[in-house]
Symmetry: C2
Subunit: 133 residues, 2 copies
């Protein structure tokens, strides 16, 4: 249940937060702040913004920079700690502009030039998604 999911992450379950969580839960794809704002009538951008920040801070969701200009958010798996083991590939459809978590594909470890130490990475594939092809 959503309320529980919030509590587990130490987020007080207010009405707005439950709605946002539900919305993200029911979405097949990652959502941006403004998409949420549109979808949720009589919602306030600043509140949504702070809701998402809180969710992200408490590792209930993760943010995705898909290069579209607006940051997308998607639910983390249960038990996610948002460290490198939880990082995965994302896919951005250039037709419908949807962004998908490809949770079962991790980011490949590459050997960087000497002296460059990486602790995280962002890998986004762009193209045409399943529903658009």
């Amino acid at each position: 249940m959503f309320e529980n999911r919030l509590k587990k992450r130490n987020i007080r379950p207010t009405a707005m937060r439950l709605i946002v969580l539900k919305e993200l839960y029911e979405s097949e794809v990652a959502m941006s702040l403004s998409e949420l704002e549109l979808k949720l009538e009589n919602s306030d951008k600043a509140t949504l913004y702070r809701t998402l920040k809180k969710f992200e801070e408490n590792q209930l969701i993760h943010s995705i920079d898909d290069g579209s200009g607006s940051i997308k958010y998607a639910l983390c798996d249960e038990g996610c700690t948002c460290d490198s083991k939880d990082q995965h590939v994302h896919f951005h459809c250039e037709k419908c502009l949807s962004t998908y978590c490809i949770t079962n594909i991790g980011i490949p470890q590459l050997t960087l030039p000497k002296g460059f130490i990486s602790n995280s990475a962002n890998l986004v594939f762009k193209g045409i998604c399943l529903s658009c092809s």
Copy 2:
């Protein structure tokens, strides 16, 4: 010589363009519009913007979305056609905020879920760069 490099890409070598090209050429790291604007006294943001767009369109430079919020630009190698074979990994230093082209490391080809067709990708590693470590 810079003038020639512009001509080869079908870009008319104006004074401003030569300056911008020189600046990018001499920079170890990728530069953003506003970094250029700061560096080049009495330069205009809109002109720089259009200069970069033109350079990018004509494949003299490529743009890099390193997740920092501002797009960075770096010179392409000679003969670059900015297609998938020319795409490479980038590195963003979280300390000095510099972004480097790792031109000798390509983007790994991964098998995406059925129905997802990718034609480009963005892979940025984040961490500490050589000069900051």
